[in-house]
């Protein structure tokens, strides 16, 4: 019977989820290499409720969330091991548990063994898919070319940072720490062929757009209020109905 209340309820639940996702985007407005998350709503037609008009009742469900794939602003930092990617390629990392992950966070430092790691400790992979290491004495003065080749001041090639293509990036799970992990743990390390360039001494800032996120907050709040109004009108209607039935009998 109570279809309109449940339709409004399905919207309220979905909007609360969207608020959580939006709050997370805003909280990460300063996270290096962060990509904003968007929720995906779909209508769900209930085929059984064809009693009155034959058209059924559509409920709202939140089917999934996807990645806002736009690039963030590139910020100069001056650190020789900071790298930003300009283009569609991704860095690949090896996590502590041996799992491979992808990300756009190029805030790299050296660990005591001379391996290139992120600030949260994940190892950065080179173009061949092996952990990238640099001679410590030369690390502060390296030059990194647009295609990721790392060379010393004397011109010797020390390695190449891996830039990989991620054609199915929407299917990656998010693991926190700026990491995107493939479902089965090991990814296909396909080299990027779209001409992604490495910018040395810069970081890619979060791609969260302040104005659109705050506007979205307002939209969510208003939609939430509308759904609540629908529930209370339905409630009033029923109250009215009951009281009139009471009068006639």
């Amino acid at each position: 019977m109570d279809n309109s209340t449940y339709v409004a309820l399905s919207q309220l639940t979905a909007l609360e989820r969207q608020l959580d996702v939006t709050a997370n985007n805003i909280a990460n407005a300063n996270s290096t290499g962060f990509k904003a998350e968007r929720v995906l709503f779909e209508s769900y037609l209930n085929p059984d409720s064809t009693d009155v008009t034959g058209e059924g009742t559509s409920y709202l469900i939140d089917r999934g969330s996807y990645l806002d794939d736009r690039s963030g602003v590139v910020l100069q930092t001056g650190n020789p091991l900071d790298m930003a990617l300009s283009g569609a390629g991704w860095f690949a990392y090896e996590l502590e548990d041996g799992q491979q992950a992808f990300g756009r966070d190029g805030n790299f430092v050296l660990d005591p063994q001379g391996r290139v790691v992120t600030t949260s400790g994940a190892q950065v992979l080179d173009a061949g898919g092996a952990p990238l290491a640099l001679p410590p004495a030369l690390a502060a003065t390296v030059a990194i070319s647009g295609d990721g080749v790392i060379s010393s001041q004397q011109g010797g090639v020390l390695g190449q940072i891996g830039i990989f293509a991620l054609p199915d990036r929407q299917s990656l799970g998010r693991a926190g720490g700026g990491m995107f992990v493939p479902e089965d743990g090991t990814a296909q390390l396909a080299p990027d062929d779209t001409g992604t360039e490495v910018i040395q001494g810069a970081l890619e800032a979060s791609n969260v757009q302040a104005v659109s996120e705050v506007t979205r907050l307002i939209d969510i709040q208003q939609a939430y209020q509308h759904a609540l109004n629908l529930i209370s009108s339905e409630d009033d209607l029923k109250k009215e109905m009951l009281s009139r039935i009471g009068q006639t009998s």
Binding site: L12, D20, P112, S120, R174, A210
Partner: protein
């Protein structure tokens, strides 16, 4: 509704950011100070439905999952190890390092600390000490009646004693380098300490490959870029406001839900 907690992590992160920025601004005139930058990453995700889950018997899989992130975390402060400007002081015991490396000083508790601050002085016994009175390592002691000290680019300290025109070599200064400079722990007083993350100090001579040279009569100023810090401060404040907006939106939505009847 997790938005309240999520936005709270965002506000805390921006507070950390403002703390780090204000410390940079406060140290804009500190000799040898290196700009710090707070580094943030997203916190864990709640995977409400998994990517790649099978949706039909024909092997259709879900193309996107439903991931709700739970906020932001500060993972560390990264020091920006670029060269600060060299300021001439004319003081013969002032030294700036042009390039990589740190001076080593002996702490009173027997440990060693490392510094880019090359403003050294003399103790009552003629030892070369830093501003806090900690002796430089390896130690250099000036002979009595020293009239002038010369420090070469490669760290050889020579003293002119009395009116003798020929200088006497009295010591060799060394520089310590680290694999991961960013992993050193700041102690205050312009001192840094080696940690497991930074690796052990690698003793080297000034002018070795990959090591800086010494400039007598100069000090290294801080590498704080004030314009950059102020713009970062403005951004941090706006991000803080956005997070508080998310909190008030969540609050008003819950309040509205409570008032349906």
């Amino acid at each position: 509704m997790k938005a309240l907690g999520i936005a709270a992590t965002g506000m805390m992160a921006q507070q950390t950011n403002v703390d780090v920025i204000s410390n940079n601004i406060a140290n804009a005139n500190t000799t040898g100070y290196k700009t710090a930058r707070a580094s943030f990453t997203d916190l864990v995700y709640e995977n409400l439905s998994r990517e790649g889950a099978v949706t039909a018997e024909e092997g259709n899989t879900r193309p996107v999952g439903l991931d709700v992130g739970l906020g932001v975390q500060a993972v560390g402060t990264v020091r920006l190890n670029t060269q600060g400007g060299l300021v001439q002081t004319q003081n013969q015991l002032d030294m700036a390092i042009d390039g990589r490396g740190y001076f080593t000083v002996n702490l009173p508790d027997g440990d060693q600390a490392y510094t880019r601050d090359g403003s050294f002085r003399l103790s009552a016994e003629g030892q070369v000490v830093n501003g806090s009175g900690y002796e430089i390592d390896p130690g250099v002691v000036l002979p009595a009646n020293t009239t002038k000290i010369e420090i070469s680019d490669t760290g050889i300290v020579s003293a002119f004693v009395d009116n003798d025109p020929v200088p006497v070599e009295i010591g060799q200064l060394t520089l310590a380098t680290f694999v991961n400079d960013a992993g050193m722990r700041p102690l205050g007083d312009n001192l840094l300490q080696a940690t497991v993350a930074s690796g052990d100090a690698i003793p080297s001579l000034p002018g070795d490959e990959g090591v800086g040279i010494l400039r007598q009569g100069y000090l290294e100023s801080s590498n704080v870029d004030i314009v950059r810090q102020i713009t970062d401060l403005i951004q941090a404040q706006r991000a803080y406001e956005m997070n508080s907006k998310a909190i008030s939106t969540a609050d008003e939505m819950m309040s509205a839900a409570n008032q349906i009847r």
